[in-house]
Every structure is written in structure tokens, then in C-alpha cells.
């Protein structure tokens, strides 16, 4: 399967080649993914994590696929909802920079798990 990783995680940048590297925040990664999805790029992994704590991560990696001729409305709904939720949850909270290295590590490990799931295809 052809895919690219949209990421701002320096650890992923070091280890992976097929990436769109975003010089910016978690939110900037979401916005980059949103822009790609509106151009017809397929969303492969869900933009949000599975726990509240990972929302405070400075880093995020999201997998996208090939560009299609038609924009998928379901993918638009998912990425737009994700941005709304990200902003909502960060309203009163700070990004947890103190543990940035650990977040980079976990984000990278969760990414590896997702890629393993894609490998079999």
C-alpha cells in the first residue's frame, strides 16, 4: 500500500523517509492532513489518539494514502471533527512540553503498530 506519514515528530523524521514533515504543532499536523483530504488524499489512520493524555502531546503522526479524483466526505467529516475536538480539549490545557521526548517515543511506537497493520497488504 502506498502511504505517507504527515508528522511533526522529529523521531519519525529521523527514522522514516516517506513523510510530509510539518514544522509546527500537533494542530498544524491536523490542518495539513485536512488540506490533503480536501485535495482527495485518502485518510488511512485516524487523526486522534485513543486517550486524553495523548492529546497533550506536542507531536502527532498521521498516515495518509494516495490522491483520488473524488474527495471522500467521510474522511472530511473525520478530520474536521478531529480538529474541533483537538481545539476543544486544548482550550484550558497546555501542551506538555516537559515530557516531549516521551511523547515522541510513544507517538513513534503507535505509528509503528499502525504501519505493521498496513504491511500485510
Amino acid at each position: 500500500m502506498k502511504y505517507k506519514i504527515v508528522t511533526n515528530n522529529p523521531l519519525v523524521k529521523k527514522e522514516k523517509e516517506n513523510i510530509y514533515f510539518v514544522e509546527g504543532s500537533y494542530e498544524d499536523v491536523l490542518i495539513k492532513v485536512r488540506d490533503l483530504v480536501y485535495k482527495g488524499v485518502e485518510l488511512i489512520s485516524h487523526p486522534l489518539g485513543a486517550s486524553m493524555r495523548m492529546l497533550y502531546s506536542p507531536y502527532r503522526s498521521i498516515i495518509v494514502g494516495e490522491k483520488n479524483k473524488v474527495v471522500d466526505p467521510f474522511h472530511i467529516e473525520i478530520i474536521e471533527n478531529s480538529i474541533i475536538n483537538y481545539r476543544k480539549n486544548l482550550e484550558g490545557r497546555k501542551v506538555d512540553w516537559i515530557h516531549a521526548d516521551d511523547y515522541a517515543l510513544i507517538d513513534n511506537e503507535l505509528l509503528k503498530s499502525t504501519l505493521k497493520d498496513l504491511e500485510v497488504k
Binding site: 486522534l48 485513543a50 486517550s51 493524555r53 495523548m54 492529546l55 478531529s82 516521551d102 497493520d117
Partner: protein
């Protein structure tokens, strides 16, 4: 399958020369326990401590909570496929040290929360302030990769619970709970007029600190699978440690899954309970489609009239929850969802990361963003530095008197999406 959970009521834990239960007091020989755990060469150091209800003690960062038990009749003991040999569990007799819990602590990564306060305000929010906790703090050898570190801590907790549980082997129980259910054909003959109900239990299955296991198989690698409810009550399902403290299902909560127990209670009275489908929550959209389609298909094949779905976590799993709901409702199967809410400090925001018009029956298990104030503890078990993680959420979260303002999402089991906890949210 017939399973007896034979509860021995534990009224205190003390360290002693022999690991035994006497007059409702659990004595633990800490040295023996430590040397048993240190048989794993990946463990450098183990500290054992006790936290009792009412003591001004804070435990942080909690990784898992496990109920100590011993199987005295029937196949398997402990957690087959993980800490003991593979066996078909769900049948036989289990002696349960009811009221006691093994709590594992230890940093795997620095940002983990997971607090249990044994007294005061904090105690209100976690069910594990009511248990007598044997806290096992595990330090691994240096240089372990994070996956090996996680596995080491996970196994040590399970082994500690087995070791301590052994103390109940020859003790007469204070109460015996029996869980018995035959084949679908048998139960449907017995209760032809009762609606058939399936329980779908979703599990975070996404990688390091975001995993669950069934018979030792990482649920990332399973298709949705059907379990007899007794299997989960008998140790087939375990937690893969946690990041999401409030709604990660601990092993203890699997062993005492409230949804299963409540459905059992109604079995033969108002419903015909058909069993449990474990459904992984994956990260890819294709994976989510696969598991949600498959889950709905299993429910249809079983002839379910109604399905109860519980979620684990918050964020991308909300999509799975609602996709399952949509598929079931479209198939004419009445569906009830159990989930927590992430509805902001004031409780007014949209509670889930996703919505669906088919979700018409939803049970809320609490608002993870609800802010609570935890006063300073006399004693901290675990890593006191982790408290700064708790306190560092926003400006002013650390008060002048040392109190910490934090969100419920930092408190273990506070918004359990299988209902093993203390709170809910009501519309008004």
C-alpha cells in the same frame, strides 16, 4: 459453563512472615513476593507497600490493578497464555481475596498520570480507594526497550496477584457467587420469550500502553471474537497497562466486569444473555470498518435483539463506537452505548469526538474533563515526581497549599466505561 467465585472478605492487609489469610486479614511475606518477582531477570528492584482505605496515601503512577485469586477447581489458574499455561477457563471454582487488590506502579514513560487517593476528595472518584491495596513498585534493569519494560511490569503485576491469591487456597469463603450458562440452544429453549442480548466490549488495541490481551493474544491481532462471559470473569482478558487513567479498563475491572455481572443478573428474568464479543479498537480506518462490520455480523448471526456496547478510551475509538451502533440499528437491533464524556470543564461541550443519529440510547459514565482538587498527601507511594505531571496541566493547577487541581482523566478508573466505578452524568 459453571463458575463459582468464592469470595473471602479481606478486612486488612499486613506484611508478615507467612503469606496467608487469617480471620479476614491478608498477611504477605514481602521478601518472598519480591524474590518471586525478581526471578524475571528484567526486574532490578521491587518495592512492596500497603495502602488502606482512609489513609492519607496517594499512589501514582498506577499501571494496573489486579484482584488476587486462586483457582481451586477446574482448568487454569491466574491468567492463561500470559502468566500461566494455556487453559480453557470459565469453569470451576475460584477463591477470591475480595476487598484486596494488587496495584502496580512504575514509570514507563514520564507523562503518565494514574492516581489513587485513599482518602478525602480523591477517594470519592476511584473505586480503588475502597480496596486494601498491595502496591508493587517495579524498577526494571537499565537498557530495556519500552515494549519489554511494559511487558515486564504487566507480567509482574499478574504474577504478584497469583502469588498473593494462593493464600486463599484453603480458606472457606464468606460468600459464593455462581455464574452458569449453557449453550445458546439450551438457554433459548429455557427462555424462548426473552429478548436475546449480546454484550460488545471494545478494547483499545493500538500499540504501546494502548493494548489489551485475550488469552495472551494482543487484541491488535484479532478479529472480533466471541467469549463466554465466564471466561472474562475467570482471567481470560487483561489490561496492557495504561496512559488513559480514567477509562482504561484495568485487569481488576475485567475480572469483575460490571456489564457482564449486571447482564448475568437479568439473564433468565428480563433477557437471554448470549455472551460477550471482544472488539479491538484499531487505528486505521480500514481496520475500523473491518472490526465494526464483523462485530455487527456476529451480532446478527447470534440473532441478537439487543446489544450493549462499551467503549474503552476517548478519541478515535468514538468512531468505532458509533459505527458499530449505526450498523446494528440499521439491522434492526436495539443498541445501547456505554461511554464516558469529554465535555469540557463546564460539562457543556459535545461529549464525544464523533456523533451519529442512530445513537439514541447512551449511558454516560462521567465527564473526564471534570476538575477535582486533591489535597496534599502524607505519603506518596510510587513516584512523587509524577505529581508534577498531574499538576502541570494549566496555570494555577498547583495551589499554594500544595493541593492539585486536575481533571478526572488523571484518576484511575474514575470514568470506567464498563461501569465499575462511582459516577455518571445526568441530563437536566
Amino acid at each position: 459453563m459453571k463458575l463459582e467465585l468464592r469470595r473471602i472478605h479481606i478486612k486488612d492487609i499486613q506484611l508478615g512472615e507467612e503469606t496467608k489469610v487469617k480471620d479476614g486479614v491478608l498477611f504477605v511475606n514481602a521478601e518472598e513476593l519480591i524474590s518471586h518477582l525478581k526471578e524475571d531477570s528484567r526486574i532490578k528492584d521491587v518495592k512492596v507497600d500497603i495502602a488502606r482505605p482512609g489513609e492519607k496515601v496517594r499512589i501514582i503512577p498506577v499501571k494496573d490493578v489486579i484482584e488476587p485469586r486462586v483457582k481451586i477447581e477446574g482448568a487454569g489458574n491466574g491468567f492463561p497464555g500470559v502468566s500461566s499455561k494455556m487453559a480453557q477457563v470459565g469453569e470451576g471454582k475460584v477463591n477470591v481475596l475480595y476487598g484486596a487488590a494488587v496495584v502496580t506502579v512504575g514509570d514507563i514513560v514520564g507523562f503518565q498520570e494514574g492516581v489513587i487517593d485513599m482518602w478525602g476528595e480523591g477517594a470519592k472518584w476511584t473505586p480503588f480507594s475502597k480496596t486494601f491495596n498491595l502496591v508493587v513498585d517495579i524498577t526494571p534493569v537499565e537498557g530495556l526497550d519500552p515494549h519489554a519494560h511494559e511487558a515486564t511490569v504487566r507480567l509482574a503485576g499478574l504474577k504478584a496477584a497469583e502469588f498473593v491469591g494462593e493464600a486463599g487456597r484453603d480458606v472457606e469463603p464468606d460468600e459464593v457467587l455462581t455464574y452458569e450458562m449453557g449453550s445458546h440452544a439450551e438457554e433459548s429453549r429455557k427462555y424462548p420469550d426473552l429478548p436475546k442480548v449480546v454484550y460488545v466490549e471494545m478494547l483499545i488495541s493500538q500499540g504501546l500502553l494502548h493494548d489489551g490481551y485475550v488469552y495472551g493474544v494482543n487484541t491488535q491481532n484479532i478479529l472480533p471474537t466471541l467469549l463466554h462471559p465466564n471466561e472474562e470473569l475467570d482471567g481470560a482478558v487483561i489490561s496492557g497497562n495504561c496512559v488513559a487513567a480514567c477509562d482504561k479498563i484495568t485487569t481488576y475491572q475485567h475480572q469483575n466486569n460490571s456489564v457482564i455481572l449486571d447482564l448475568y443478573e437479568q439473564h433468565g428474568k428480563t433477557i437471554n444473555f448470549l455472551g460477550v464479543i471482544l472488539t479491538p479498537e484499531l487505528t486505521t480506518l480500514e481496520g475500523k470498518f473491518r472490526t465494526c462490520d464483523y462485530t455487527a455480523k456476529l451480532c446478527k448471526m447470534l440473532g441478537a435483539d439487543g446489544v450493549i456496547v462499551s467503549e474503552e478510551g476517548y478519541g478515535n475509538p468514538d468512531s468505532d463506537l458509533l459505527m458499530i451502533c449505526k450498523r446494528l440499528e440499521d439491522a434492526g437491533i436495539k443498541t445501547v452505548l456505554i461511554t464516558d464524556e469529554c465535555s469540557g470543564w463546564d460539562g457543556a461541550s459535545q461529549p464525544l469526538a464523533d456523533t451519529a443519529k442512530e445513537a439514541v440510547a447512551v449511558v454516560s459514565t462521567g465527564n473526564v474533563s471534570h476538575v477535582v482538587t486533591l489535597p496534599p498527601a502524607d505519603k506518596v507511594i510510587g513516584n512523587a515526581e509524577a505529581i508534577s505531571t498531574l499538576a502541570g496541566g494549566w496555570d494555577g493547577s498547583l495551589q499554594e497549599d500544595g493541593s492539585i487541581k486536575c481533571e478526572l482523566n488523571a484518576v484511575i478508573g474514575s470514568t470506567s466505561e464498563i461501569g465499575y466505578h462511582n459516577l455518571t452524568v445526568k441530563l437536566y
